[in-house]
């Protein structure tokens, strides 16, 4: 009797240990299935969720049905629920529910499924191609002209209607990076952009892993929380957004500053990290928000000098390539700050107060609120608060206070949130993402 009890005890323990691992595996499979469902249905074409695009995923056609709001939103909800449950499991049972190999396999599968499919939910990638072709094929400055300046170009018909007259708002480094793709034709450039987004995502995830390990966090949880995030996979990678390239630079800078040996990174690494942030800002300006926090946390000349050197070099290259408009990022940011998207919290709050939308005075109020938040974060960083967490809060505050909120904007703070001790940042980032998903649900509740 006692022998039987003795042999049964470890079996029961093993079973209870295996249960979370089995649950994690089931959640991971559900995440992959939901992503595959969206991609296969999107490949069938004629969907309001898939922008007009060259048929790059014809080989997937026939496996799915036309992607409607109902299927998409159910798949998004399933993904979000599975992601939330998997994330909670990973954070609670550090390193026991998913092996590093399984985590990498899950994240790689999700990225590759979306990479293989058509462009999802956004026409932005065609704007990137159009700006590159404006410069390379038509000899026009993309900082002075919108895609409509070359309306005969084969990519023009794919550019979003709202953007055909708008000059590029992206940094000169990104525009120069996109130039080599212009000569590949629309289909070649599209695959080039998708590959660029995939590689940037892989790099971001690798750096997230490295930073998490160096800062004493579970790298498996960190990489899954970023790489399996439904908004990251479906909206960010699905749309081949250049935010992923910006995030690669962001995590590159954090990795340089996170040197385990010696405990404090040397002056050269600090200068390099600041220069990488400036390079990221020359791709998409938002990442510049990290710089003041890095400088305040170090209070040394090296990051300031590194940033200044990169700014001078970037300005010279930008000026040589595009003239003064290529380096006037402030004008581009001011222009974009005036846009209003239906998903922005500012718009939702305006509706809550019975207003039809955001008024000019609201823009000023939101900017003032952002300044107050950034000042508080700088003060906290001065007092010793983790600059990476402060940067994450700053990026989250920017996305919450902007009147032009898109799904991929609320991805910015995520890689920072998983490598910081302040778990409130991760909770707040995921809560904002959850609210974004909830706001998409009206076609599910009242189909039109």
């Amino acid at each position: 009797m006692s022998v039987a009890a003795h042999t049964q005890r470890p079996l029961a323990g093993e079973r209870s240990e295996r249960r979370p691992a089995a649950l994690a595996a089931a959640l991971a499979l559900a995440l992959v299935a939901a992503a595959a469902e969206i991609v296969l249905d999107a490949a069938a074409g004629h969907s309001p969720l898939v922008p007009k695009s060259p048929d790059i995923s014809a080989w997937l056609t026939g496996s799915g049905e036309r992607l409607g709001f109902r299927v998409f939103l159910i798949a998004l909800l399933v993904s979000s629920a599975c992601y939330g449950a998997l994330g909670a499991l990973l954070l609670r049972m550090r390193g026991t529910v998913l092996s590093p190999r399984a985590a990498i396999a899950l994240v790689a599968a999700l990225q590759l499924i979306v990479f293989a499919g058509p462009v999802l939910l956004s026409t932005d990638v065609f704007s990137y191609i159009a700006y590159a072709r404006l410069g390379v094929e038509h000899g026009l400055n993309p900082y002075l002209h919108g895609p409509a300046a070359a309306s005969s170009d084969p990519v023009f018909k794919y550019v979003g209607e709202d953007w055909i007259h708008v000059a590029t708002a992206y940094g000169p480094l990104y525009t120069l990076l996109s130039y080599p793709l212009a000569a590949l034709g629309v289909v070649g450039a599209l695959w080039g952009m998708k590959l660029e987004a995939l590689l940037a995502s892989a790099g971001t995830l690798a750096l997230t892993w490295r930073c998490a390990r160096a800062r004493g966090f579970d790298p498996v949880a960190a990489v899954v929380l970023v790489g399996a995030n439904p908004l990251y996979v479906i909206y960010g990678l699905g749309g081949a957004h250049n935010d992923l390239v910006m995030m690669l630079a962001m995590m590159g800078a954090v990795a340089l500053m996170t040197a385990p040996r010696p405990p404090v990174p040397g002056a050269r690494r600090e200068a390099g990290a600041a220069a990488v942030i400036v390079a990221g800002a020359l791709i998409k300006a938002t990442v510049a928000a990290l710089l003041p926090f890095m400088i305040v946390s170090r209070r040394r000349a090296a990051p300031v000098l590194g940033a200044l050197a990169a700014i001078v070099l970037g300005a010279l290259v930008g000026y040589a390539a595009f003239g003064i408009h290529g380096i006037d990022l402030v004008a581009a940011l001011n222009r974009d700050a005036a846009f209003v998207s239906t998903d922005s919290f500012a718009n939702e709050i305006a509706h809550l107060f019975g207003k039809p939308g955001v008024f000019p005075v609201d823009h000023d109020l939101l900017k003032a609120a952002l300044v107050v938040i950034l000042a508080h974060l700088l003060w906290r960083t001065w007092r010793g608060y983790d600059w990476v967490a402060a940067s994450g809060w700053a990026l989250l505050a920017i996305s919450v206070t902007t009147t032009w909120l898109l799904a991929w904007y609320i991805l910015w703070p995520l890689p920072l949130a998983v490598v910081t001790r302040d778990r409130r940042l991760l909770a707040a980032t995921l809560a904002v993402q959850a609210l974004f998903v909830v706001h998409q649900l009206s076609p599910l509740l009242a189909p039109i």
Binding site: I349, G384, I448
Partner: protein, 160 residues
């Protein structure tokens, strides 16, 4: 010897203590953390209320637009898909819409269009038609293009 150690001492004196970076925040941060967390929770709650409110608002609008489309199809006896909906001309957020669609089969706007002004509560999946007008093919819904205005909503909306 003392001359050689002087620069090191100077280096140690600069930057002064208050300017030196800190590895951690001072101990008094507990109260600040609580205040910040409370502020975050309140902001989160406010954003959640705004999001749910907007979702409900959008769902009601969708519900209304479905009723409007059904009304247009029932009134004109045409089961067409491409019907344009104007939510602004009769007042943004007024719940009053103008729906325009072809009077005969064809591409959107390629034939004479009939526009209906629709508002009121949804009853049996439809709302009330309060009037309307016609538009020539390929003409946007501008006052100058309208003809054959009918019903109280159409009164005074045609150029003559």
């Amino acid at each position: 010897m003392s001359g050689a150690s002087l620069p090191v001492e100077r280096r140690r004196r600069w930057p002064p203590q208050w300017l030196r970076p800190r590895a951690e925040e001072p101990r008094s941060r507990g109260r600040l953390w609580r205040i910040e967390t409370l502020a975050l929770a309140l902001v989160g709650l406010f954003l959640a209320v705004a999001t749910i409110h907007d979702l409900v608002r959008q769902t009601h609008i969708n519900h209304r637009l479905v009723a409007d489309l059904r009304t247009w199809r029932h009134y004109t006896r045409h089961d067409y898909v491409n019907i344009s909906i104007d939510q602004e001309s009769l007042g943004l957020d007024s719940g009053r819409e103008i729906l325009c669609g072809n009077t005969s089969p064809g591409a959107p706007g390629a034939h004479t269009q009939i526009c209906l002004a629709i508002w009121g509560p949804v009853i049996d999946g439809r709302r009330s038609v309060h009037g309307g007008w016609y538009l020539p093919p390929y003409h946007p819904d501008l006052r100058a293009n309208r003809y054959g205005c009918f019903g109280p909503a159409g009164r005074g909306r045609c150029p003559r």
